[in-house]
């Protein structure tokens, strides 16, 4: 069992998301940096369907109540185990009662705690992902999260691997034209592929960009949106939708990020530069 000693600002349980219910208006949810989450599951020798703990901005404190094989991936916030510094992307074997906490930010925004066998919280509509309105919203102090009985600690072949540095330091977000891209004029299209900066208005629903662009497009008839859809709002600012977005919306969809690009974006913070690329 893992006990939540400090809930942080927005920490959740996430797996790959809630598939099959979008036609009922259910958001996809799932790890916002799917790439880092999958990395963590591979290091602990888990399955892709396992659930991990998603930690926002290195805020939160956890206690392992039994011997637990775990690893941390994603953003590096100077993690410590019982006060001793530990590394990212490495397999560790925590003793019972050991406390995991975080400190100064080195890079990134979202950290994953993956444990052997995955976190065993309840499945709701076939997924363990937290999603407001479907499940509870976030972890709270005192939560006790069940895990499977841990096997022998053995270093796997993935025990020490690095995530590519571009995942954290590249501003480039590979994307495709969105359904309404062709309604833009040449000037708007060119502007879209110049740099933007991220605003502080960012959460699991979407990330807003600071610089508005000229907007002469009408609303569209409400149509579907996906995580990674870039919407052009009436004020001209762009919003990149993320995993907790609704299934439909009425703003023109000018770009669609590649599935990998949403993972890269999730590790950025207010003021960071981003650039859409084709």
């Amino acid at each position: 069992m893992i006990k939540v000693l400090h809930p942080g600002i927005y920490n959740t349980i996430q797996d790959q998301g809630r598939f099959g219910f979008a036609k009922l208006g259910v958001p996809l949810a799932g790890a916002i940096d799917a790439y880092a989450a999958e990395f963590g599951k591979a290091i602990v020798g888990g399955k892709t369907t396992d659930a991990v703990i998603e930690i926002t901005f290195g805020q939160g404190k956890f206690q392992f109540m039994e011997t637990t094989i775990f690893c941390l991936t994603g953003g590096d916030f100077s993690p410590t185990l019982d006060g001793d510094p530990i590394g990212m992307n490495r397999l560790y074997n925590a003793e019972a009662t050991a406390v995991l906490s975080f400190g100064k930010r080195n890079y990134g925004a979202i950290t994953y705690l993956a444990v052997q066998g995955g976190v065993q919280t309840d499945r709701v509509l076939k997924s363990r992902s937290f999603s407001k309105g479907i499940t509870r919203e976030r972890l709270e102090k005192g939560d006790e999260l069940e895990i499977l009985k841990q096997e022998e600690y053995t270093e796997t072949k993935y025990a020490r691997i690095r995530m590519p540095v571009e995942h954290f330091n590249s501003a480039e977000l590979p994307c495709f034209p969105g359904p309404e891209f062709d309604q833009l004029n040449e000037k708007q299209k060119l502007r879209l592929f110049e740099p933007f900066t991220l605003s502080a208005d960012q959460n699991r629903v979407g990330y807003r960009l600071n610089e508005p662009i000229e907007n002469n497009l009408d609303h569209i008839l409400t149509s579907s949106v996906l995580p990674g859809t870039v919407q052009l709002t009436p004020s001209g600012t762009l919003i990149v939708l993320m995993n907790d977005c609704q299934v439909s919306g009425g703003y023109p969809r000018v770009l669609q990020l590649s599935e990998y690009a949403t993972s890269r974006l999730s590790q950025k913070v207010a003021g960071d530069k981003v650039q859409f690329t084709r």
Binding site: G20, P179, Q246, V247
Partner: protein
């Protein structure tokens, strides 16, 4: 046989967006609903989303766009089996008591109608469910009588109770959960529009119809109790 020629657009690397003419029309939604039912989900399709004039098809991995579009195009041409798909008309109990219908008086006086007339205009039609979105279990309905078209509230309420039945512009709908909202509230339904404990959490589908059946406060509480115990059987008719 169909008068439509949907277009196909890639929407990221694993999703196809099929678009029909950009209009809110019953014949369009019927065509989309019927086609969605015929799509071969075994081709790695993990989600489909119906909206007014589009069908979004999401696959479990990166797709060869041309191959999947060819498959969909061929399937769209096969019309016969799709024509007789049955839809349902759901009877939704609604209590239009003034305690729940907190905007009934205001709407009646704005429209120079009696409260009973407002209720009558709202509960008479069979509303078409175009699709479900915005929130889990929120039905986009069409068919509101023009006599009770009213603007949304200038200042949205921070909290509208679950089950509230509202109107705004040419739209009407039911709030599936407590939420903020700008619609004018006419009444409240004791029915769960989204229940995660059920294998099919929302009883309705795009293309179905619903009819609001006025009930008194006693029935409201009785149905609410039955619904919570899982004993209330929602009535529907095949249409």
């Amino acid at each position: 046989m169909s008068k439509y020629k949907p277009t196909y657009k890639p929407f990221g690397e694993s999703t196809i967006l099929m678009e029909w003419p950009s209009k809110i029309e019953e014949t369009i939604i019927r065509d989309i609903v019927a086609f969605e039912k015929s799509v071969d989900k075994s081709r790695g399709i993990v989600d489909t989303v119906i909206t007014y004039n589009a069908l979004t098809i999401r696959y479990d991995c990166e797709i060869d766009f041309e191959v999947e579009v060819a498959e969909l195009r061929d399937r769209y041409k096969v019309k016969k089996k799709r024509e007789d798909q049955a839809s349902k008309c759901w009877q939704i109990p609604v209590c239009y008591d003034l305690d729940f219908g907190i905007d009934l008086d205001e709407i009646a006086s704005a429209k120079e109608l009696t409260v009973d007339e407002v209720i009558q205009f709202h509960s008479a039609p069979d509303y078409l469910i175009y699709f479900i979105g915005f929130q889990p279990g929120f039905l986009y309905l069409g068919g509101l009588n023009e006599k009770i078209h009213v603007p949304r509230k200038a200042i949205p309420r921070l909290r509208v109770a679950k089950g509230s039945v509202g109107i705004g512009g040419s739209q009407t709908g039911v709030y599936p959960n407590d939420s903020a909202g700008g619609w004018n509230i006419l009444g409240r339904s004791p029915i769960d529009f989204f229940d995660i404990s059920k294998p099919q959490p929302c009883f309705a589908s795009a293309g179905d119809r619903i009819k609001f059946r006025p009930i008194d406060k006693d029935s409201y509480h009785q149905i609410m109790e039955e619904e919570q115990d899982g004993n209330f059987m929602l009535k529907s008719q095949a249409i």
